[in-house]
Structure formats: structure tokens, C-alpha cells
Amino acid sequence: MTTGMIFAGSGAILFAMGVAGVLLPTHLLRKILAFNIMGSGAFLVLVGLGQRSGEPDPVPQAMVLTGIVVAVAATALALALARRLQRLTGRMELPPEAERD
């Protein structure tokens, strides 16, 4: 059991928790939170599994840095849209599936 494997395993569990969190609650802020946890899980797997022998590996580390920035970008966009929705409808929830027919 190495540090890498411990966090890779936690990452897998975090990912699963995050996915469930995006799918289940209705409040958008909580969905966005869950998405971030999901991403963090994937990042932990990337670095942890890559470093399971114990040696640091700069390649997945650099990939995760890229991933974190992408995740922030997506979070900011999602939050801005959620706030717009809040401003327009008064609630931070997706309206029930509006299949217009």
C-alpha cells in the first residue's frame, strides 16, 4: 500500500460520489460542487495511479494542472449560467424538463 495507491483509491470513490452528486440533487450550486469533486477524483487517480511505485511523475502532474484550470473554467461558466437562471426565474434549479410539446 503506497501513498499513490491510497489516493488513487480515494480518487475512484470521490469520482463515483461526484457523479452521483451531479445526477441526484436539484440545486444547481450543489451539482456544480459535485462536479468539482468528481474532477478531483479523476485527478487523484491520474497522479496516484501513475505514482503507485512511489516515484513522482511530472507528466500526470502537469496534466492535472491543466485539468484544474479547465475545471475552474467550467465551474465559472456553470456558476454564471446558474446565476443568470436565478435572476430570470428566481430559483437556482433547472426547470423540469421542458420538452416543448
Binding site: 500500500m1 501513498t3 440533487p25 459535485a34 468539482n36 469533486i37 497522479v47 475545471a71 428566481g90 437556482m92
Partner: protein
């Protein structure tokens, strides 16, 4: 010794993530999430990834946390407005 710390940290990570997802009150969820972000920074340090630890603390926990808190502010004002509208109705 190190492994024990890692296991404790991993447990704390999972616990804070679980709380951030399961708490129904968005405000406490956001606070839990910021805690989660800081724990993540610690985990990166344990994985000998100081660059990510720095980025996670600054961008992940810091910026995302601040954005979420800001979103929370909008939420509050929105709710207050709605309450006021309801209250003012005869």
C-alpha cells in the same frame, strides 16, 4: 507512519466530500467544499506534487471557493427578494 497519515487524510477527504455532496443547505455545502479543497492541497503535497498543491490551494479552494461563496450571495438576495415579494402581497 506516513501511510497512517495518508489513510487518515484519505478518510478526511472522503468524509468532507460526502458532507459537501449530501448537505442540503448550499451554504454549509460550500463551506465543506472549501475544506475539501484544502485537504486536496494536502493530499497533493503528500503525493509530492507541490505544483498542484499550490494550484489547488490558489485556484481550486481559493478561486472556486470564492466563486461559490459569491454564488451563494446571489442565492440569498434572490430568496430575500422572493420572500419580500410574497410578503408584500395583500
Amino acid at each position: 507512519m506516513g501511510i497512517l497519515f495518508d489513510l487518515l487524510l484519505a478518510f478526511a477527504l472522503l468524509w468532507s466530500a460526502w458532507r459537501a455532496i449530501a448537505l442540503t443547505d448550499p451554504a454549509s455545502a460550500v463551506v465543506q467544499f472549501i475544506v475539501f479543497g484544502l485537504l486536496m492541497a494536502l493530499a497533493w503535497a503528500r503525493l509530492r506534487a507541490p505544483d498542484i498543491a499550490l494550484a489547488e490551494a490558489a485556484i481550486g479552494a481559493g478561486l472556486t471557493g470564492a466563486l461559490l461563496l459569491d454564488g451563494l450571495g446571489t442565492l440569498r438576495t434572490g430568496q430575500r427578494q422572493r420572500d419580500e415579494q410574497h410578503g408584500s402581497r395583500p
